[in-house]
């Protein structure tokens, strides 16, 4: 008889099953483009090897009376040819399946993950190992097997801390350790620090402005509209540097500008807001592959001064930097832990929690125009590094957003949206190509027109 190991989903991850919907299945995709057609048999072998090293990925999601919980399973992942739309739903209640899938199409490998399992950084660790294992098999003779490097530019010590883990004694212990909510793994450290800056995080004073939101027509079967722009990373970096802003905020300002130019409902004094996730592992060493990020909201109101792209970017950068500090994030983390430990919150039955969380999620969404996520520059272990070109990053979306990832000197922006309209992406691309950047576009067919005749 087998007794399964399990671990409760933390508050931060509970939002994903609660906020999951037909439009937004809360799935994200990380992908890599190889320099040859993918060999599915080798990819399967590589997946099996990587799967062994990531006990968290063995988990299935189950529903308890008070919480969702992750439970260890005997399921094995199978590499599949891509036949579903980008970020197709993964988790379905009462159906016990793994919470991720690995797909391949021509030269591309894609890892799709249900967000309650892991965040972008955690998934990138998995994909990095997967690509490393694949490349070692495919190009065994080409390069000596060297120590793997998992470095991720904006999170330089995450890997270091992961490495320090002692060799696990058993799969069960490994599962429990890896599946422990990241928030709790840093709780001890937080407690030692003492009650620094107790109290609520500062809210910007005054009443919150009405934020401009995009509208559009939904795709016919609620699939995610995915468009992907690739460009040389150095060119974008130079452009951002010239304006004195970091690339993420520069691109965000560009996104705002593209929407402002194409949406007829925008007026001169519209406020635009973006949510930007920050990887908390940068500030609080954690080895957990679970969700461990906080989102920072930045906004800009037009018509009150300099509205040039550079000025907007610098303004956003300033607001972002003020929030992205260890102290501000630590306050938030402690609040999260408190909420999770708050007795009345514990005894609320799960279906009621789901309702509350989806209401909170809805309210949050109302104050956002777009969402941005940047995984930064990725370095893969050799020999994968030499055989992977672009990497890509797409997130199922309830509002237009883009996700950025850089590899091999190529910056890829994955635009996703629940709407068929692409005007903002067109304008975005034109702003870039107008600045002399060579942009290429890849798109998944989504509308009835685009798909006419397909599968008939």
């Amino acid at each position: 008889m087998k007794r399964r190991h399990w671990v409760r989903l933390d508050n931060a991850s509970n939002i994903f099953p609660a906020a999951r919907s037909d439009v937004d299945p809360k799935v994200f995709r990380l992908g890599a483009e190889l320099d040859h057609l993918v060999d599915p048999a080798l990819l399967q072998e590589a997946l099996e090897e990587t799967f062994e090293r990531f006990p968290l990925y063995h988990a299935v999601l189950r529903r308890g009376v008070f919480w969702y919980y992750l439970q260890d399973s005997d399921l094995r992942p199978q590499v599949v040819a891509e036949t579903e739309q980008v970020c197709a739903p993964i988790y379905q209640p009462d159906r016990r399946t793994l919470l991720f899938r690995v797909v391949h199409h021509r030269r591309r490998v894609g890892l799709e993950v249900f967000h309650a399992l892991s965040d972008g950084t955690g998934a990138l660790w998995f994909l990095t190992d997967l690509l490393g294992a694949y490349a070692r098999r495919r190009f065994a003779g080409e390069a000596p097997v060297v120590e793997e490097v998992h470095e991720l530019a904006p999170d330089s010590f995450a890997h270091y801390f992961r490495r320090r883990q002692p060799v696990p004694a058993s799969h069960e212990e490994d599962f429990t350790r890896e599946a422990t909510p990241a928030v709790l793994t840093v709780e001890e450290a937080a407690r030692e620090e003492g009650p620094v800056g107790e109290g609520r995080a500062r809210r910007p004073s005054g009443r919150r402005r009405r934020v401009h939101r995009l509208r559009g027509s939904r795709t016919p079967d609620h699939r995610t509209r995915a468009l992907e722009l690739s460009m040389p990373a150095a060119d974008v970096l130079a452009l951002a540097k010239a304006e004195g802003a970091a690339p993420t905020m520069y691109l965000t300002a560009l996104f705002f500008e593209a929407i402002r130019r194409t949406d007829a409902r925008v007026h001169a004094r519209s406020t635009f807001a973006a949510s930007v996730p920050v990887n908390l592992r940068q500030f609080f060493p954690s080895t957990s592959a679970r969700n461990f990020f906080a989102t920072i909201r930045v906004e800009h109101t037009y018509g009150r001064g300099d509205d040039s792209i550079g000025a907007v970017a610098r303004g956003l950068q300033e607001a972002f930097s003020a929030e992205a500090t260890e102290e501000a994030l630590g306050r938030r983390l402690r609040r999260l832990i408190r909420v999770e430990r708050f007795p009345p919150a514990r005894i609320v039955p799960r279906p009621l929690k789901d309702l509350l969380l989806s209401a909170i999620n809805y309210a949050n969404n109302r104050s956002l125009t777009v969402a941005i996520s940047n995984l930064g520059r990725v370095t893969l272990p050799s020999p994968a590094q030499d055989h992977v070109g672009r990497m890509l990053f797409l997130v199922s979306a309830v509002r237009p957003q883009f996700c950025a990832i850089t590899h091999g000197g190529q910056l890829t922006l994955g635009f996703t949206s629940p709407f068929v309209e692409t005007a903002h992406v067109r304008e975005f691309a034109r702003l870039l190509s107008g600045a002399g950047i060579e942009v290429s576009l890849a798109a998944a067919r989504s509308t009835e027109e685009e798909l006419a005749g397909v599968g008939a």
Binding site: M1, K2, R3, R4, W6, R8, D22, E33, G64, V65, F66, W67, Y69, Q71, E82, T83, E84, Q85, V86, D94, R95, H105, R106, R107, R108, P220, D221, H222, R223, A226, L227, E228, R346, I347, T422, V425, R426, A429, R430, S433, G434, E438, V439, S440, L441, A442, A443, A444, R445, E448, E450, L451, V454, G455, A456
Partner: protein, 221 residues
């Protein structure tokens, strides 16, 4: 690779027109990095609407039966037929929506069948046939059914232990009926109660640890 002059873009794939501006593309076609996934109309929404409408109709028809109480005698046969149809439909809906978890379905089935039969008995001028015969027989049969199901489809213990526990607890209800003197003939209730007690004892003796573990998991605060 193809290119769109209007957007100054290179476009990957076999697009005839630019996906962004709809303009003409020039250049050689390259294979698309994304497969074209045909539109698939989701049956899920249709199913959901059907289930909700059906549940509404069943509920309304049960309520309507209450209004005919005074004319019960005239409506006898008609009422039985109609309640039978509504109950069948209810069972079908439950079977469809709980098809992925048979143990859960059995609990739902027992609860619904018992409740409907008691209600039916009440509508047709209470004579106690439901608590005397139907409820004990349904409970006992479901316990037997569950034991067979678990054997046949090799369910994992964790997947059925809580629901089989619930089924067995439901099976203890007829003993309560017996104690309260609601039943005419005690044999069905006695058999059902004995079966439940036997299974509950076996379950706790053989699988006590697993039961506690599973309950701790599900009820974890």
């Amino acid at each position: 690779m193809r290119a769109c002059a209007d957007c100054s873009l290179r476009v990957e794939g076999d697009w005839k027109r630019c996906p962004l501006c709809g303009g003409d593309l020039r250049g050689a076609v390259v294979p698309s990095p994304y497969p074209a996934v045909p539109l698939r109309y989701s049956r899920r929404r249709v199913l959901r609407v059907l289930v909700l409408c059906s549940l509404g109709v069943i509920l309304l028809s049960f309520l309507a039966q209450l209004l005919f109480r005074r004319d019960a005698e005239d409506l006898g046969a008609l009422r039985s037929v109609w309640l039978g149809i509504a109950t069948t439909w209810l069972v079908v809906l439950m079977a469809v929506s709980k098809r992925r978890n048979l143990a859960k379905f059995i609990v739902y089935l027992v609860a619904a069948a018992a409740a409907v039969s008691v209600y039916w008995d009440y509508l047709t001028q209470w004579s106690g046939w439901s608590v005397t015969y139907v409820v004990p027989i349904v409970c006992a049969a479901s316990i037997a059914g569950l034991l067979i199901t678990v054997r046949v489809i090799r369910m994992e213990l964790a997947d059925y232990v809580v629901y089989s526990g619930l089924t067995v607890l439901l099976g203890l209800a007829p003993i309560v009926f017996l104690a309260l003197g609601w039943v005419g003939t005690p044999i069905p209730s006695a058999i059902c109660g004995a079966l439940s007690i036997a299974v509950v004892t076996l379950l706790l003796a053989l699988r006590g640890g697993a039961v506690r573990h599973e309950l701790a998991t599900r009820l974890h605060l």
